[in-house]
Structures are given as structure tokens and as C-alpha cells.
């Protein structure tokens, strides 16, 4: 039977190629949507992990690093650094602002204000913040606003100078830019905002760096004991919380979209199998005339369908990866990782199931096929 299927495929190479491309593209849509979903969660996961802390201290009750407002007492850094086993506590603050540039659209941006640690994880071009008014922007802003190292970056009439471009520093459809504390304070004063802010959001989180070989759980307890207005998290835990928030936000929509992708794939496979039967009516007539049962013919269809999926899947990966590359190059605000084990396996096995269902779709047509068709003109 397998040989028969192979011969069918080789007999009409253009048709076989078109079939593989159509099914491969339908599967690629699922892979892209899965990748998009995974990318949103990976970005959320990395926000806290990329800060390079052993422990993260947040305002009591705040359990997320992103999309949360955390305010720590300003003296907490000193108190935490006095705990034995703590090497240092790096302050970090996130401030949402809207970036505008003439002739371009508006974008929400997160100012990530850092001092001695927690700055950009990977700098693609240029260097980190070293002098006053330096700013490191995410690569998506560089692409969207045609910005490069050395250009001005103006927010609320306050002029920064781009010293570097960070790689993959964004989450929740929002790019991050990195500045230092002195510039944030200057920004608040120069922008004439400070008069209305009773409490400048100077300290959102503390990124705690520990001495080697210390018990991080014991130190976390000590920090919570000394700083009663704070909660302490392992970076993994706070990143899990961010991912859970992302799932609450995007899960339902992505579920419906991926579901639509599966429906398309099922319809495409069903359509292709239907067309395949139609094109080979006479052959099936011959097979029926020489005694092949409906069951054996449908088994052949299922096997063929599964075989096509196996052939089309690498193509699907290639198409999806090309699509992902295009998206990430043109709009680096998004990440679309395709080669993630769980989504790939899930998509592959789902595609096999769809192939089996798709092969059964034209079953009635096949069952009603009259063997006498072989003798007609």
C-alpha cells in the first residue's frame, strides 16, 4: 500500500508538490500562531529573569514584575544590603511613558530605570548607559522610528541620546528603554512634572545579589523580617507569575485563533483528500472491482493522508520559520519562536489526527463508488 501511495505521489509531481505546500502552509499557520503565543509568554518570562538577580524584592502584595506598580520605601536598599549574605541590592524602577516622534505613530514605552544592575541584558549595537542623558532603546523602537546609536530620543521635550540598542527588550506589546536614576530625576524636573508628584516612583523593585553559597531562602526570610512592607521572590517565581498573567490576558484569544488554524488545516486536508479521490476515481474503481473493500481503500486514504503530513511537516516548519523571521525582522517588538519542543509536538500530532479525520471526510463518496466506473468512458 505504501508503494502505491509513493507511486501516486511521484506520478503527479506538480500536484504532489502543491498538496504538500497547501497542507504545509495550513500547518505553518498553526505553528506561527503557537509561536506567537509562546513568544508573548517567553517575553513576559524573560523580563524578570533578564535582570540578573538572585532575589527580587517588591512592594508587599505585588507579585508581578511587569504590568504592576510597586513602591518600596527608599531606605530599604540600605537595610537589605546590611543583611549578611547580601552582596548588593540594585534598585530598579519602571515608569510607563508614551513616546511620540513627528511623522510617526505614538507608542507606549516602559522606562526601566536602573543604577548598578538590572540594565539591558543583551546590547545589539552601541553600549550601555555610561554618561548623563544616555539611553538604551529596544531594537523594535530603532526599527519603528528609524533610530540609530547617536540619535536623539525625546520624551516630553526631554532629550536623551541613544547610546545603545538592546536586543529583545520588550513585553506586553511594549518596548523597554533603559536610563539611569539621575536622568529619571532630571526628566521629572525638566518635564515640569515633579510639582504634582508627592511620591516620586523612585524605587519599584530591588534586585538582590547574594554572596556565593548562601541560603537564598533564609536570606529571603531575613529581608521580609527587616523590611515589612516588602515581599521577596525568586526570579523564577515572579517570572511564573508574569507568565500566568499573560495567560489570563492572551490565553482566550490565542486559543480561539489556534482553534481557527486547526479548522483551516482540517478543511484543507479534507479538500485535498476529496480532490485526490476524485482524480483517481477510475483507479479506485479498478481496486474495488478486483476485490478491495471500502475499509481497505479508506485505510489507504488515511495512510496517504498521514504520509503527506509527514512530508509536509518539515515544509511547514520551514514556512513558519521564514514567517517568524520576517515578523521578528520587520517588527522586533514580537518574538515568534517556532522551534519549541512542546508546541511542535502538539502541532505534529494534532496534524496527524486531522489527517486521519480529513481522510475520512470523503468516506461516503468512496463507499458509494460503483466499481463499474472503470468500464465507463
Amino acid at each position: 500500500m505504501l508503494r502505491f501511495i509513493c507511486r501516486q505521489l511521484v506520478y503527479e509531481p506538480f500536484r504532489s508538490m502543491l498538496t504538500c505546500v497547501a497542507i504545509g502552509s495550513a500547518i505553518a499557520v498553526i505553528l506561527l500562531l503557537e509561536g506567537f503565543h509562546t513568544g508573548l509568554l517567553v517575553q513576559l518570562k524573560n523580563v524578570s529573569l533578564n535582570r540578573g538577580a538572585d532575589l527580587i524584592v517588591a512592594q508587599k502584595g505585588v507579585s508581578n514584575f511587569i504590568a504592576s506598580r510597586s513602591l518600596l520605601p527608599q531606605l530599604s536598599r540600605e537595610a537589605i544590603e546590611s543583611i549578611e549574605g547580601v552582596k548588593s541590592a540594585h534598585p530598579i524602577t519602571s515608569v510607563p511613558v508614551i513616546y511620540e516622534k513627528a511623522g510617526y505613530r505614538k507608542s507606549p514605552v516602559f522606562f526601566m530605570v536602573f543604577d548598578t544592575g538590572g540594565g539591558p541584558a543583551v546590547i545589539k549595537e552601541g553600549k550601555t548607559v555610561t554618561k548623563p542623558r544616555d539611553i538604551v532603546i529596544d531594537e523594535s523602537l530603532a526599527v519603528l522610528y528609524d533610530l540609530k546609536v547617536g540619535d536623539d530620543f525625546i520624551v516630553s521635550d526631554f532629550k536623551f541620546n541613544i547610546s545603545g540598542i538592546a536586543k529583545q527588550a520588550s513585553a506586553l506589546f511594549t518596548a523597554f528603554v533603559f536610563i539611569n536614576y539621575d536622568d529619571m530625576i532630571d526628566f521629572f524636573f525638566d518635564s515640569d512634572l515633579v510639582g504634582d508628584i508627592s511620591n516620586l516612583p523612585l524605587l519599584s523593585y530591588l534586585l538582590v545579589e547574594l554572596q556565593p553559597d548562601v541560603d537564598k531562602y533564609a536570606i529571603a526570610k531575613s529581608i521580609e523580617a527587616i523590611e515589612t512592607d516588602a515581599d521577596v521572590f525568586l526570579p523564577d517565581k515572579i517570572s511564573q507569575n508574569d507568565v500566568a498573567l499573560g495567560e489570563t490576558l492572551f490565553g482566550p484569544v490565542m486559543g480561539v485563533l489556534i482553534g481557527a488554524g486547526y479548522i483551516i488545516t482540517l478543511l484543507v486536508i479534507g479538500m485535498i483528500m476529496f480532490a485526490a479521490i476524485h482524480a483517481r476515481l477510475k483507479i479506485y474503481g479498478v481496486l474495488k472491482a478486483i476485490g478491495f473493500s471500502n475499509k481497505s481503500l479508506i485505510n489507504e486514504m488515511v495512510l496517504e493522508s498521514v504520509f503527506i503530513i509527514i512530508l509536509a511537516f518539515p515544509l511547514a516548519l520551514l514556512i513558519a520559520q521564514s514567517g517568524a523571521w520576517l515578523i521578528e525582522t520587520r517588527v522586533p517588538l514580537y518574538r515568534v519562536p517556532i522551534f519549541e519542543t512542546v508546541p511542535i509536538l502538539r502541532t505534529f500530532f494534532s496534524a496527524l489526527v486531522l489527517a486521519i479525520i480529513g481522510a475520512y471526510l470523503p468516506y461516503r463518496f468512496m463507499a458509494k463508488l460503483d466499481p463499474a466506473i472503470v468500464f465507463r468512458g
Binding site: N64, A244, L245, T248, V256, L257, L267, H278
Partner: protein, 369 residues
Amino acid sequence: MLYWSLKTLFSEPVRLIVSALAVSVSFLLVVFFSAVFEGESDKMVIYLEKMQADVWVMQKGVSNMHMASSMLWDWKADKIAKLPFVKEVSAILYFNGPVKIGGKDWFSYIIGIKPQYQRAGPWEISKGKRIPGVGEVVIPEVISQLSGVQIGDEITLVDRPLRVIGLSRDTFSMASSVVFVSHEDLGELVKGRDQYSYIMVYANPGISSQDLIKHIKNEVDKVNALSSEDFINSDRTLAMQMGAEIISMMTIIGTLLATLIVAFTAYSLINHKQQELAVAKALGFSDGKIYIASLFQSVVITAIGLVLSIVLAYTILSWLPTVIPQVNLVVRPHQFISIASIALPIAVFASFAAVRTVIKVDPMTVFKG
């Protein structure tokens, strides 16, 4: 020849329906993205719309509510209230962030209201009280349905437990559900008890928003004032722009997929009808006429796919939020314009694959077995 084209297509209705359905689902995927972003964008500005203020006053340098933070001293609301032309003011403290309800974080617009500014509270209540006092909260009805949290239950806002006293309608969105708490609770939390985030100004009859804005900016330092229309547009545009690239990418993906599906259908149809085409050629029909027939088939499949996608969009997509209340979808005619404008090129492009087969049809085929 066109009649032959149509007859061939409709002689195999199952194949035609499956092909058109596959094309329509590809189109639907594109519409779905756009509907999600429009639905969410509409919900993001619903609070601003429902307040029906003439002018919104906020911190200088701020011109949005979505993804923004604004702080103003509370005396500014009193000062604005005393200005001529001003009929009434209302003010809120606001921040956006997650609220833990039923053990899950729900990203929300948290609105802190004072008893004297009841106008700033929820506009429709399905159950319970409307205005929260200290230690109380009004949550969206949809979150209550999804989380099982009812009136009298506790939720957590950062570090403080709040008791649910009311369920509001029309306030749920994935990215910006509106949760109402007392100004006192939120003020303590954001260390802004003497502050507001936004002041809503209602003008006396006959006073234009622009006059009012000018007046407010002259009289009150360090504020930005925007007409309600500009403020709403600014937020809606920002929200829509955040999804603009995704919508275009999905349009490209959906289009490519639809092209392939149409191409495959047209190709397999023509391949299947090779003998009939050979007869047509033998009878003297030119290649051009056969090309047009093939193109016509692609156009018909694409058109049926497009019509089906419109029908599905207005039925399934409109029904979906009743089953999945987390998803706000808005289907509008303009969402189909881009699809309609690319449908014809799809048909033309897709028919190329079929045309390649037509060229190769040998009139002698008709005499073969």
C-alpha cells in the same frame, strides 16, 4: 466557456463548499484579529466614553489613560470647579495593574472614587451596590462569572483585601477591565491620598470644549487638558496601533493561505476536467478563452469564500463572546475592505497554477481512453 466553468464548479458541490469554506476561514482568521483589536480598543475607552465629560484634565505631558500614569494635586479639582464656564467636575485616582480575583490576576484599570464624585462610578450595576466605600470593591460581572467570586467575597488589590459589594456591567476587557475602589484605599496604595489622576470637567451650556481647555490651561499650572473626543481618540489610536503590525502580518498569512487554497482547487478541478478541456480545444476554443474560464473559476471560489467569511463573521464571531466572555469582538464592514481588495488578486494569482495545466492540454487527449 464561462457557462462550462460554472457548470463544472457546481457539478461538484461538496468540493466547492469545502474549498470556499477553507478560503473563508483563512479570511476569517484575518477578520478575527482585527475584530479582537477593535473590540479591545472599544472596551479600553469605554470608561472615558461613559463619563461623558466635556474636558479631561491630567498631568502635564500626559495625553492618554491607557499605559499612562498621571498625578494632580486634589486642590486643582476644586480650583477648576470654581472657574466660570464650569458646571461640574468629577475626579478619579487611577492606576493600571493586576487585581487578584478568585486566585487569578486580572489586569485592570483601577478607579479610585470619592463619595462626592459618584458620577465617576460604574454606569450599570447588575447586582449589589454602586459606590464602594473603604475596604470595598465593585468588579465586572464577567470576572465574577469566570472566577466564581460573588458579592461578599474577598479579592486582593496589591496587599489589601477588599470585599466585593457590587458587580458592574459592560466593564470587562482582557487588557483593561474596570475595577472600582474607594479613593482612600487606592490613595494609600499609590501614596497619593491628596491626589487625583484625571479630572472630568462638565461645561455650562453653550461653552465649547476648546474655550474651556484654554481657560483651564490659563488658570491652572502644570496640567494638560483635552476634549473628550481628542482624549478618547488618542487612547483608541494607541490601542489599535499596538495591534496594527499583527493585523497586517495576519492579513499576509491569511492571504497567502487563501491563495494556495484557491490555486489548489482550481488546479485540481482543471486537472480533473482535462478531457473536457481537450474537447473544447479540439472544437476550436482558443487558449485565451480557456484561460478566462480558469480565471473565472478562481474568482467564483474566492467570491463565495469572501461571502461566506462575511456571513461567518457576522454570525460566529458575534456569537463567540457569549460562549467566551473574555473575548471582545467587534465586526465592522470596513474590516472586509482590505480582504475584498485582495480577493481579486488572489483569484488571478491562484489561477496561474491552473493555467499552467491548461497550456499543456493536448487536444488529442479527447481521443485517448
